[in-house]
């Protein structure tokens, strides 16, 4: 087989040289002979593996016949241009130069057969790395082939999490670090994100790499026009990474909604949004619903709701079921009035199970006294915030072991 390829290539060279010298009429004939040569009936008998032989033939035909045709047409092109010139020797030189170059090209394109001996230097040039897969479920397969992905990993982007987002993996594979990613990174640096925060930010929101820097800039300018300080914007962007993907109209709508619905002044609205920027990016439905729950189901006044929302913004975005369960237990079982809850709104954020356990323990000890007017009053803050050991020592005045034993009797 190797011998045959060698012959083939030699034949090809000869043919090319011959073609350049002969007229264009002969060229067509040469292609014909080439084709005849490519399909010798006895060749298939020589070759033990017929399929392989056919494959090889096919490849050769595509590669070399194409080259050959190209060569023919280009040389005919030169002859046409040469016709326009009057002096002949010059054209001859040009054509011979051309053929030299073309011949070299052809030589380069020839694949080396496996059995052929190659020199040491040539061997060094060969790259033996396997090609990247055409499709894959994971970015892992591309990490060794893509400089962009490698740089993102070094930045701290968690590819294992990014690839689970819809379309995010495809986006990252297509991007180029120098052209596409660098400008976004520089923009984020301008906003004020730290180097160490960039990885975490891009993990949460890889889609920002697809945005135009101009759009992002207008959104930041909008926030600045609303008198958010630079530090505040940095904090908001980092804590709600999708903030910059939303249009100016939507941001404006949201800010207006909170200001009107809660009746806060602009400074307080800003404060609220800075502390929980998720309010701007998340869904509005649950927040609307929660406000109604506070007002109608739980019976807080408008003023109290404003206070609750302003001191602990997270209370606006907790789930409705959790909220009502918590209130039900606090108010109906523990007998805590609205007034005390407003004084310590963090209580709605606490874990119900934890409050239950502690309340029952205190009740068992006879210390469950939540009325501030009477002695040995236990505030809600003390009930919720302290860790188990401190709670047992300071509030319940009991051993942690006893507390654990008590929990096993529930």
């Amino acid at each position: 087989m190797a011998l045959w390829t060698r012959q083939l290539s030699r034949y090809c060279l000869l043919l090319n040289a011959y073609n350049t010298m002969k007229s264009s009429e002969l060229r067509k004939q040469s292609i014909k002979t080439w084709r005849c040569f490519l399909e010798p009936p006895d060749l298939q008998q020589l070759c033990p593996n017929r399929y392989f032989c056919q494959m090889l033939l096919k490849n050769f035909r595509i590669l070399h016949l194409d080259n050959h045709m190209l060569f023919c047409s280009s040389s005919s092109g030169t002859s046409q241009t040469s016709l326009s010139f009057t002096d002949k020797p010059k054209t001859e030189i040009v054509s011979s130069l051309d053929t030299d170059v073309l011949l070299q090209d052809l030589e380069d394109e020839l694949p080396l057969s496996a059995l052929e001996e190659i020199s040491e230097n040539e061997a060094l040039q060969i790259k033996a790395a396997p090609p990247p897969p055409l499709e894959s479920f994971s970015l892992r397969d591309y990490i060794d082939h893509s400089e962009t992905l490698r740089k993102l990993v070094l930045l701290g982007v968690d590819l294992s999490r990014v690839e689970k987002r819809p379309n995010a993996g495809q986006l990252l594979v297509k991007l180029d670090f120098e052209n596409d990613i660098k400008k976004i990174l520089l923009f984020l640096k301008d906003i004020g994100l730290e180097d160490t925060q960039l990885g975490a930010f891009l993990t949460k929101n890889p889609y920002i790499l697809n945005e135009e820097v101009e759009d992002l800039k207008t959104r930041v300018n909008y926030l600045i026009s609303k008198k958010f300080t630079k530090e505040a914007i940095t904090q908001m962007v980092f804590r709600a990474p999708y903030l910059l993907l939303f249009s100016v109209e939507r941001l404006d709508n949201r800010l207006g909604y909170f200001q009107n619905e809660l009746g806060l002044n602009p400074r307080k609205t800003r404060n609220l949004v800075i502390r929980l920027p998720r309010l701007l990016t998340g869904k509005l439905e649950p927040i609307k619903e929660n406000l109604k729950v506070y007002e109608l189901e739980l019976g807080f006044s408008k003023n109290e709701i404003r206070h609750i929302a302003h001191t602990v913004p997270k209370n606006l975005s907790t789930s409705k079921i959790k909220l009502t369960q918590m209130f039900d237990y606090l108010h109906n079982v523990m007998g805590i009035p609205h007034k005390l809850m407003v004084l310590f709104p963090q209580i709605f954020n606490a874990k119900l199970l934890r409050i239950k356990e502690r309340h029952l323990f205190l009740k068992f000890l006879g210390r469950a006294q939540y009325d501030p007017g009477q002695p040995s009053y236990i505030s809600l803050e003390k009930l919720v915030v302290l860790p188990d050991d401190v709670f047992c020592a300071d509030v319940a005045k009991a051993e942690v072991k006893d507390f654990e034993k008590f929990l096993k009797t529930l």
Partner: protein, 298 residues
């Protein structure tokens, strides 16, 4: 993590928080990244032509924790005998290979112990105090003596049923040997059986019972409380069902919700390993000859 553990579950909360366990597993030392052999081309400085290849090992980027993601993403956890939403107590869980042991644990048909609280004077449609109230009765006539009498009646009838379900001829040597070891119990599916009942506290209208039983459900125990109420010419509802023992696992071994961390669970598994193995061997050993015996008959 090839073992089984029991955890204490407080009533009403069906929590599944394996995340702390996974977190613990993933925070353990990761294996070193694999090394990739790279040939790097260097051109010698003298003539710029002479190429040499240097071999060096580079840690593979594929094994970078940010690329491969966390090593443990899920954990096989199997549950032992069921504990319904309104009951609490020792709840057996198998982790990893321990899930297979749960089958053996089921086949051993071990007894479990419950403490059951009840209140006289009420009856509800689901026998618990949360259900719809059906009737109210007086309970002044109930004394501890009367209660004990009913309890012994229940015990007696269940003992008979137990012997029937155990499928043993009581006049044989084999039955005698098993009885001496205290191992007479049905080894196949059977209706719920109570092996012992004890009154722990009697303060009308409240009372507390300790029930040792087999193949029970928590609802069945509530029904027992209801029936005790009827037998005493009154009515009763069950306020709490709490499992205090499941086979060899007792309350002291159980881990609280706040204690579900990797080191705690590991320690608990190591502590209980011997106990579990011994118990399973003991229970299944006498099952095997009986199974062979049966096969001989067929």
């Amino acid at each position: 993590m090839p073992e089984k553990r029991r955890w204490y579950r407080s009533g009403g909360e069906g929590e599944k928080s394996w995340s702390s366990l996974l977190l613990g597993l993933n925070s353990l030392k990761c294996p070193q990244p694999r090394q990739q052999i790279r040939f790097q081309r260097t051109v010698s400085e003298e003539d710029g032509k002479d190429l040499t290849l240097t071999v060096n090992k580079v840690p593979m980027l594929v094994d970078h924790p940010l690329v491969s993601g966390p090593i443990f993403t899920h954990l096989k956890v199997g549950a032992g005998h069921r504990l319904d939403t309104h009951s609490s107590g020792v709840f057996l869980l198998g982790v990893g290979h321990g899930t297979k042991m749960l089958t053996d644990w089921y086949n051993a048909h071990l007894t479990r112990t419950y403490t059951v609280n009840g209140v006289f004077g009420k009856a509800t449609d689901d026998f618990s105090d949360r259900g719809k109230l059906i009737e109210k009765t007086t309970f002044d006539h109930i004394t501890q003596e009367k209660l004990e009498r009913i309890i012994s009646v229940i015990q007696g009838s269940h003992h008979k049923a137990l012997l029937q379900c155990a499928n043993l001829d009581l006049k044989t040597q084999e039955a005698y040997e098993l009885a001496v070891k205290g191992l007479i119990r049905p080894m196949e599916k059977s209706p719920p059986l109570i092996t012992a009942v004890q009154c722990l506290r009697f303060a009308p209208p409240e009372f507390q019972l300790e029930i040792h039983c087999l193949h029970e459900t928590q609802q069945y125990l509530r029904k027992i409380v209801h029936e005790i109420g009827l037998e005493l010419k009154s009515s009763a509802v069950c306020t709490q069902v709490r499992r205090v023992r499941d086979g060899v696992f007792v309350l002291e071994d159980a881990l609280l919700r706040t204690q579900w961390t990797l080191p705690n669970i590991q320690r608990a598994i190591l502590q209980s390993k011997q106990k579990v193995d011994a118990e399973l061997q003991n229970s299944l050993a006498h099952l095997k000859p009986r199974a062979d015996y049966k096969r001989g008959w067929i």
